[in-house]
């Protein structure tokens, strides 16, 4: 009897210990976020002591490696926005149409074969896409657009768009799927045709989920690095011309990391300032997307 109660208390202790251990493991993710913010902010403070925030946000040149240094984020930002815009213009129409087709039109057999195949697009390493953009898409487009430079935003953005099609397609399809069948049946009962049901009933009902998927796609494109580092160039220019070399925030981070910039210098700190800008951009987009997604889940679940 005594032994069994002893066993029991040992077991209880063990249970408690295990719970504590598991809890500590889950704290690791909080630690990761805290480290990211601490590292980005602490190095950026040093940078902003030398370069005023106002100059950083309004100067139209970014030349940290030149003799006459300018630290205006706008050229990098415009490069990022340009490639992102092109990617979204490719991925959203294709991904959304595919989602409507797969959810409302395709047979389940077709869907089950095509969906895993589409997921492969998202699984291809980005360095491979970079190679493809630089050495296949750009030479191919040059046949039709004579003014296209060897490095340009167009090819990089296009390939990036192809890469994020599955993201838009699968998240939008989830949103379309979550629309209750009653809505579809009601519309059919009123004499609607399939196309009308798909575009006038189901699509509007799933709008917040679809918007969430688009914003997530934008965030993914903003943070994408290797494709633009390889195929879009390394020339920070404040332009929205997709045919000339540009530089994105992410590509700049890679460019500096490859060089031998000594630790502690202002040039070195630009990595962290760019990282902070990128972090704030993607974080904002992710939060909006998260909230929108929650909204469509609340409505239909």
């Amino acid at each position: 009897m005594i032994q069994s109660s002893q066993n029991k208390s040992i077991r209880k202790l063990k249970e408690k210990l295990i719970e504590r251990l598991l809890f500590l493991c889950s704290l690791f993710s909080v630690f990761t976020t805290a480290s990211i913010i601490y590292i980005l902010v602490s190095e950026s403070i040093g940078f902003f002591k030398v370069v005023p925030v106002f100059d950083f946000l309004t100067d139209t040149q970014w030349t940290p490696l030149f003799t006459i240094k300018h630290f205006g984020i706008l050229p990098l930002l415009s490069g990022t926005l340009l490639t992102t815009l092109i990617a979204v213009l490719v991925a959203v129409p294709l991904g959304l149409t595919a989602a409507v087709y797969l959810s409302e039109y395709a047979s389940s057999k077709f869907r089950n074969t095509v969906k895993p195949a589409m997921e492969i697009l998202a699984a291809i390493p980005t360095v491979v896409y970079g190679y493809f953009a630089l050495l296949f898409i750009t030479p191919f487009l040059k046949k039709f657009i004579p003014g296209l430079a060897g490095f340009n935003a167009l090819s990089a953005g296009f390939v990036m768009g192809i890469m994020i099609i599955p993201l838009v397609a699968s998240l939008s399809e989830d949103a379309l799927h979550a629309v209750p069948n009653g809505l579809r049946e009601g519309a059919y009962a009123l004499g609607s045709q399939k196309i009308q049901v798909a575009f006038w009933i189901v699509l509007p009902a799933a709008l917040s989920g679809i918007t969430a998927s688009i914003i997530l796609a934008v965030s993914r494109a903003v943070g994408e690095t290797m494709i633009v580092a390889i195929a879009a160039g390394q020339q920070p220019t404040l332009t929205f011309n997709p045919l000339v070399p540009i530089e994105t925030i992410t590509a700049y981070i890679v460019q500096i990391s490859l060089g031998d910039t000594p630790h502690g210098t202002l040039e070195y700190q630009t990595i962290f300032v760019c990282g902070l800008t990128l972090f704030l951009l993607t974080f904002g987009l992710n939060v909006i997307s998260f909230k929108l997604k929650r909204r469509f889940q609340e409505i239909y679940e």
Binding site: L94, T97, T126, V127, V128
Partner: protein, 300 residues
């Protein structure tokens, strides 16, 4: 009447447009595969896998790159798999519903959306400089480990959520404790789905370039990490060493990036050959995940 007919036509048109949009990505994918294979297959061979990078494109190979990838993946797995599964178990099976757990959950969802290049900056600040690990395999592996941690946590949670609560209740009714229930009932039932998620996460880590470049991984490594086991003819015959984890490294995607960036055309052939190897690994892992998912989809 006319309207119905025109709607029917629109319907037909959309059917074609929808099919086209769905297959467009796959068309580009096949062009990509064809392009890479036709560029690089001639360079592939035993020599390519067993040679170090070289200044001469015809002699260059991916030996240090693929060995580096293996080392990095081992380190990544050692960090992210135990931590990821444990966190997943805690959040799904143990955590009380309160604001703090809510905070952890939102935090993990956000981490999953942080661009990979920022993990590189994290690794640079935390491991390379903060912990003085230098540009080592350990620093690289831990960085990628943190990168895929949210993915593993999320898939673990999904896998655990798919187990019906009747299993838990039956186990409790038989007098099992919470840990016994998790260890002997829930985990074995969920392990295939967790494994699928881990394979996908590892496959993503293998292809990651940006975080390791940001970390300062070198692109020209004509040697291998210190062997963990070495043999001698005198006692104790075998020596074990962890020195390899502190050696500098390169990985397959970085080697490819390096070759793509060279001005000489001949290196592009090496890049294409490297890409074929990388794609074979990635596609095999993804295929394995799809097969696992389809074969073990249990209906409760």
């Amino acid at each position: 009447m006319n309207k119905i007919i025109s709607n029917k036509r629109i319907n037909k048109i959309f059917n074609a447009v929808g099919l086209g949009s769905t297959l467009f990505g796959l068309l580009i994918l096949s062009i990509l595969l064809f392009d890479v294979i036709s560029d690089g297959w001639r360079r592939l061979g035993f020599d390519f896998l067993t040679s170090y990078p070289s200044r001469k494109p015809e002699q260059a190979g991916i030996l240090s790159a693929w060995v580096g990838t293996v080392w990095i993946m081992i380190t990544t797995a050692l960090l992210s798999i135990p931590l990821g599964i444990s966190s997943g178990i805690y959040l799904e099976e143990y955590a009380p519903k309160n604001r703090f757990t809510d905070f952890i959950e939102i935090n993990i969802a956000n981490l999953a959306g942080v661009p990979s290049v920022i993990y590189g900056i994290l690794g640079l600040g935390l491991f390379v400089r903060g912990m003085h690990l230098g540009r080592s395999i350990l620093a690289g592996g831990l960085t990628l480990g943190l990168l895929i941690l949210p993915m593993i946590i999320l898939t673990t949670r999904e896998a655990l959520r798919a187990i019906p609560s009747s299993i838990r209740e039956a186990s409790y009714a038989l007098g099992a404790t919470r840990w016994q229930t998790v260890r002997y009932q829930i985990l074995p039932a969920a392990i295939e789905n967790i494994l699928t998620g881990i394979i996908l996460a590892m496959s993503r880590a293998i292809g990651e370039t940006a975080p390791l470049v940001t970390l300062g991984a070198l692109t020209y490594i004509p040697f291998l990490p210190t062997n963990p086991v070495s043999f001698s003819k005198t006692i104790p015959f075998a020596h074990f060493s962890l020195q390899g984890f502190f050696d500098p490294f390169t990985v397959l995607p970085i080697q490819i990036f390096n070759w793509v960036s060279r001005p000489q055309k001949a290196f592009l052939v090496d890049a294409a050959a490297g890409i074929i190897v990388l794609l074979i690994i990635t596609l095999l892992m993804n295929g394995l995940a799809v097969v696992l998912r389809q074969h073990h989809q249990k209906r409760w």
